[in-house]
């Protein structure tokens, strides 16, 4: 059962990673800004977490501004892989 859960977890993480990566690489900045704006309100309504709202506002403004900032984001995403991205996420949440 544990092995199945591990396998399923890895598969799900890979799916989310590929979807997120594809979305950011293929979607124009203004559309991503709109999407994050919606996400920000949804997350705040559901959780009431102000820090999350500030962080998502920051992300939204990056895509609103576009230019060199989003060029760097896309460069990093192109160079990233699933394992490295998962390591960063795990480190940030202390797993």
């Amino acid at each position: 059962m544990a092995a199945f859960q591990d396998k399923f977890g890895n598969w799900l993480a890979a799916l989310i990673y590929r979807a997120g990566r594809g979305l950011i690489l293929a979607t124009p900045d203004f559309a991503l800004a709109l999407l994050v704006r919606g996400l920000r309100w949804l997350a705040y309504l559901l959780t009431g977490d102000l820090q999350m709202r500030i962080a998502l506002t920051d992300v939204m403004e990056i895509f609103q501004d576009g230019g060199p900032g989003t060029a760097v984001v896309r460069k990093m995403i192109r160079a990233a892989d699933l394992k490295l991205s998962r390591d960063v996420l795990r480190g940030m949440i202390g797993l």
């Binding site: 820090q51 500030i54 962080a55 920051d58 992300v59 403004e61 990056i62 501004d65 060199p68 900032g69 060029a71 760097v72 984001v73 460069k75 990093m76 192109r78 160079a79 990233a80 490295l84 390591d87 960063v88 795990r90 480190g91 940030m92 202390g94």
Partner: protein, 351 residues
């Protein structure tokens, strides 16, 4: 001059630390603040109890009540702002790294010299109390004749909140002037390497890139001028490691070896290891120094005091524009070494 009236240009994250010494120096008044975002400028004015706030730095520079300015803006703005501050006859302190190119460094030095104002490079690591104590011990001969320095930088994730937009411009070489590890943070490391053991003769470096833009892991080695001393600096990021700390997640370990012992400084920006800040090993024993100020903020505090005292005492600040130029040459030598695969001399780096 009985008191230095200071203006702060840039109210972002690092201003929380740069301001420390200015707020509690008995002969300094933080008189005005400027930020291009009015909400930030107003918030800083209320926090620091300044008399005025501006959103246009040129208007702040034109304020006749100000004696000096501290510049805490993105690196691409350092050169024009320092030059304009000098032309406005303000003493000027600029946050490290000094600028983006050697030509900019020379322009800043020329402008401040022509205006006859103080020009401080605000590099706080050389004021970190455990490093100061280490330097004092070395001067007293505690480790004999120094042979080498080993700087080890380990970064994880976590630490204080820095807006993502701020991280992003640090990753953009056009705006930053170099890589985030070897140039932006590296300015501190190159500064202490030079401060502890002297001028650099030649450099050899190897760099890998993570996420395409992070210049880590990296290994930089060098020889010192007029001696057999050697130096080594290893920069690493562990993306899966959480570092708990009040500030950035950079854990610095500095080891200086001499003919009779060695000194080890175990922290600076973060506190990954709960052990004394400074250890001295000699005569078959070790001695721990854990009775000193060792918060990273202390180094900013003392660095700020140095700028105010330099103006009041009419002496050069501890780190000047010329020091900044030497560090720019060190960085350019590192860059040329790892991109061209050869040993490079900093003094050959020209505008």
């Amino acid at each position: 001059m009985d008191k230095v009236r200071l203006g702060i240009i840039g109210g972002g994250r690092i201003a929380d630390l740069n301001i420390l010494g200015y707020l509690d120096h008995p002969r300094c008044e933080v008189f005005a603040v400027c930020d291009s975002r009015e909400d930030v400028a107003r918030a800083r004015m209320a926090q620091w109890k300044t008399k005025k706030y501006y959103t246009d730095y040129q208007k702040l520079l034109a304020d006749p009540d100000l004696d000096a300015v501290e510049i805490l803006t993105p690196h691409r703005l350092h050169c024009p702002m320092v030059v304009e501050a000098a032309q406005a006859k303000k003493h000027v302190s600029v946050q490290k790294p000094m600028c983006r190119t050697i030509a900019e460094a020379e322009q800043m030095i020329a402008a401040t010299r022509a205006a006859g104002v103080k020009f401080k490079l605000f590099e706080n690591f050389v004021f970190y109390p455990p490093y100061r104590k280490a330097k004092e011990l070395i001067a007293e001969g505690a480790i004999g004749e120094p042979l080498s320095i080993n700087l080890k930088l380990g970064i994880g994730v976590g630490g204080w909140w820095v807006p993502l937009k701020t991280w992003l411009w640090h990753l953009n070489w056009d705006e930053c002037g170099g890589g985030p590890a070897l140039y932006d943070d590296g300015f501190h490391k190159m500064s202490i390497a030079r401060w502890f053991l002297g001028e650099i003769e030649s450099v050899r470096a190897w760099v890998q890139f993570m996420f395409g833009v992070l210049d880590e892991p990296a290994l930089v080695t060098w020889r010192y001028q007029n001696s057999d001393r050697l130096g080594m600096w290893e920069a690493n990021i562990s993306p899966g490691m959480l570092v708990r700390g009040q500030y950035y997640t950079a854990d610095e370990r500095v080891e200086i070896t001499g003919t009779e012992g060695w000194i080890w400084a175990t922290r600076c920006a973060s506190r990954l290891m709960r052990i004394p800040a400074l250890l001295l090993c000699r005569d078959g024993e070790h001695r721990a120094f854990d009775d000193m100020r060792d918060d990273w903020g202390d180094s900013f505090h003392d660095c700020g005091w140095d700028f105010v005292d330099a103006i009041l005492e009419d002496r050069p600040p501890f780190q000047t524009g010329e020091d900044g130029l030497a560090l720019m040459q060190f960085w350019k030598a590192v860059y040329h070494s790892y991109t061209e695969g050869r040993e490079v001399r900093p003094r050959d780096m020209k505008a």
